[in-house]
């Protein structure tokens, strides 16, 4: 993104001193701080309401593998693993594809190709989650179970994490849908990061007689590296918190998956499917604790990602 060099330091700092100005200034200030207030309230709410479960289970809440409302035992590990595993699949698939696409769009493609392609990928980001879910249930899931999953199970099924049977529902299908959902993020930000690399880097490399590809791998990518990692982490953050599409295809099974074709459950999906009916008291508190875990994970990743992206593009960069 362009470097908006003006620091945000109070453009109207001194000028805005008359009464209407002060009113306007503080009025808009209150609204701006709404964002901070929402975040603070949300965090406070999760912390306060997770107390009961966290007090009862302590740190073993994170390591517990059983979610048993009858016995009143709640452990978060199956959901944490389900969340991380589905997002991991998405990152493994989306990073190479997304990065190569970003390289193509920023460095290789002629404008008349790059512009419509970029446009198409941006539109992919506009598809609502629930539409991805609908498509996943009726089209993608059955397709994957007949093709990719069946093939992997036949050839690699002896490796436990690729064991079948392929049902077209579960971690893998969820991972593929998440891939589609985070690709636009990874492509768009990586492309911006690559574009932000100064031309002097490229020229130096080409002057040495490097091919286009050598220039990209040796001069452009190292320069943009931290920003690209930031893009991937932002994608990861989105995948971890994604709810509806995952809920519809992951199988809602609160057990630790043994294979990538197993059904599983993510934190967000568990909250979505059970928050409205979870018994008041311990079960609800355990769900809120799951939410807190999710908040901590996504916030941490976001912070890291923003810092990395800011290093390349400055704080006014990609939002």
């Amino acid at each position: 993104m362009t470097s908006a060099t003006v620091t945000a330091a109070a453009r109207f700092g001194r000028a805005a001193s008359r009464v209407p100005d002060v009113v306007f200034r503080s009025g808009s200030g209150v609204l701006a701080w709404v964002a901070v207030g929402i975040l603070g309230l949300l965090a406070a709410l999760l912390v306060a309401n997770s107390g009961q479960a966290l007090a009862k289970f302590g740190i073993s809440f994170l390591t517990g593998t059983t979610w048993d409302p009858i016995a009143g035992i709640y452990g978060a590990l199956p959901f944490i693993i389900g969340t991380i595993a589905s997002s991991f699949i998405a990152i493994v698939l989306a990073t190479p594809i997304g990065l190569l696409t970003a390289i193509f769009l920023a460095e290789l493609a002629p404008r008349r190709v790059a512009i419509p392609l970029t446009f198409t990928i941006e539109l992919l980001a506009a598809i609502p989650s629930v539409v991805f879910g609908l498509w996943g249930v009726f089209v993608l899931g059955p397709f994957l179970s007949r093709t990719v999953e069946a093939w992997v199970v036949d050839t690699l099924g002896w490796i436990p994490i690729f064991a079948g049977p392929p049902f077209g529902v579960g971690l893998f299908t969820a991972g593929v849908i998440l891939t589609l959902m985070i690709l636009p993020t990874i492509v768009a930000i990586s492309r911006d990061m690559i574009t932000a690399v100064p031309d002097s880097q490229r020229e130096a490399m080409l002057a040495l007689g490097a091919t286009r590809w050598e220039m990209i791998t040796n001069a452009v990518l190292p320069y943009a590296r931290s920003g690209i990692i930031g893009a991937v982490i932002l994608g990861l953050g989105r995948a971890l918190g994604e709810t509806m599409a995952v809920t519809m295809v992951i199988g809602n099974r609160p057990q630790i998956p043994q294979s990538i074709f197993d059904s599983s459950q993510t934190i967000a999906s568990q909250i979505a499917t059970t928050f409205n009916e979870a018994s008041i008291g311990l079960q609800t508190s355990a769900l809120i604790s799951l939410g807190l875990v999710l908040l901590v994970i996504t916030m941490t990743l976001n912070v890291i990602a923003r810092l990395l992206v800011w290093r390349v593009a400055g704080p006014q960069g990609t939002s």
């Binding site: 009858i70 049902f167 059904s263």
Partner: protein, 388 residues
């Protein structure tokens, strides 16, 4: 507070109407505008509760088990009383109990009676009435193509086998345990892996089904137990009876459990289940009625009946359950209270005749009588809405 909120919200909406330029007839009005009908109820016994004359909307949420019945009832009742709108969201029995506890609905619905600790969790002073409305069968549905490619439509299953499947011990359709019960199709049973679909939400259907499994299988009882939401040994979760039947329908080899009518509307086959007399009985309205008639004497005074499991009789279907509407005994909004009482009275009388045709079983006469008497206990501001 609610009124002020909705008035505020209506104001906000008014602004939108102006901006968006969309025309909307005032089809609904706030809950207070039916006020002219909310005078003190006439004293003396009325043959039936009066429907208020103003527009009323009742919001309810809960069980998916009776949702197909309630949808029909709501339409029929709405045809007779167009000023009363009943908005029922099927979110699961657990959701119904939670909503009535948090007072986020006008009425709840559940086919598992509230447990003591759930009653204890109610806000101080709140009393909930359980009004039984119907019975239903929990049937085992499956989606299975035979080894020769034709769909298998009939299967016999007994308690041990069903428990084996849902415990994850029986994993393929040609398992000897299944074949032994189905000699006629044994050679056609495929090696297809069994995929269990169970509920992901708190469910009265699950409560009835796991109560059955805990009755027939000591292993189930010890390792899983019975309740609205259990730690399933195998299978995928899906929300609602609709979600389970939808899930079973999407792919070959799947098995699940739902209220009978969901099997009917989805076109899925359901298994004949071995009953207490050793007969294999398919789920049916008559089979549930037989179960209910046999358990009338066991119906508790507080209305909180357990699922009827393995009732006696050759024709009795072994997994049946009552379903309840949950209401606040004291209705804060008199108009809504009147409308709710009138709707329930209609459901317990005229509505009962709808049940057989759509896969539910009407209440046995003695229980129907008790349920109607329960309506006399609904009050508003301390006085009964429908006095004796």
């Amino acid at each position: 507070m609610t009124n002020r909120a909705s008035r505020l919200a209506s104001l906000a909406f008014g602004a939108i109407v102006v901006i968006a330029g969309c025309t909307s007839p005032g089809a609904t009005t706030g809950p207070t505008t039916g006020g002219q009908a909310s005078g003190p109820p006439a004293s003396g016994g009325m043959s039936q509760p009066q429907v208020p004359s103003g527009n009323v909307t009742l919001s309810g949420a809960g069980a998916t088990f009776p949702a197909l019945l309630y949808q029909v009832w709501i339409e029929k009742f709405g045809e007779a009383h167009s000023n009363v709108t009943v908005d029922y969201q099927a979110i699961g029995s657990g959701g119904g109990i939670k909503a009535i506890t948090q007072q986020t609905v006008d009425f709840g619905a559940s086919d598992a009676a509230m447990k003591d600790e759930e009653i204890a969790a109610l806000p101080a002073g709140t009393k909930i009435l359980h009004v039984p409305t119907a019975l239903g069968a929990v049937v085992v549905i499956f989606n299975l193509a035979g080894a020769d490619g034709s769909a298998i439509k009939k299967l016999n299953l007994d308690g041990d086998t069903i428990a084996g499947v849902f415990l994850g011990k029986i994993t393929t359709w040609n398992d000897p345990a299944i074949a032994a019960l189905n000699a006629d199709v044994a050679s056609n049973l495929p090696a297809t892996p069994i995929k269990v679909i169970h509920r992901s939400d708190g469910s009265g259907t699950t409560n009835a089904f796991t109560t059955y499994l805990a009755t027939v299988s000591s292993e189930w009882k010890d390792s899983v137990g019975a309740g609205k939401e259990v730690n399933w040994p195998t299978g995928d979760g899906a929300p609602g009876n609709d979600g389970v039947s939808g899930g079973v329908k999407t792919a070959d080899g799947r098995i699940g459990y739902v209220e009978l009518q969901y099997a009917v509307v989805s076109g899925l086959s359901s298994a004949a289940v071995k009953n207490a007399n050793g007969k294999f009985v398919a789920g049916s309205s008559a089979g549930v009625t037989a179960a209910a008639e046999g358990a009338v004497d066991a119906f508790p005074d507080d209305f909180r009946a357990a699922p009827i499991i393995n009732g006696p009789g050759d024709d009795t279907y072994p997994i049946a359950a009552y379903t309840y509407l949950l209401l606040y005994q004291d209705q804060t909004d008199a108009t809504k209270g009147q409308a709710l009482t009138a709707f329930l009275h209609w459901a317990l009388t005229d509505g009962q005749s709808e049940e057989k045709a759509i896969g539910y079983a009407p209440l046995p006469a003695p229980i129907q009588q008790k349920a109607l008497e329960e309506l006399h206990r609904i009050t508003t501001g301390g006085s009964p809405i429908w006095p004796m």
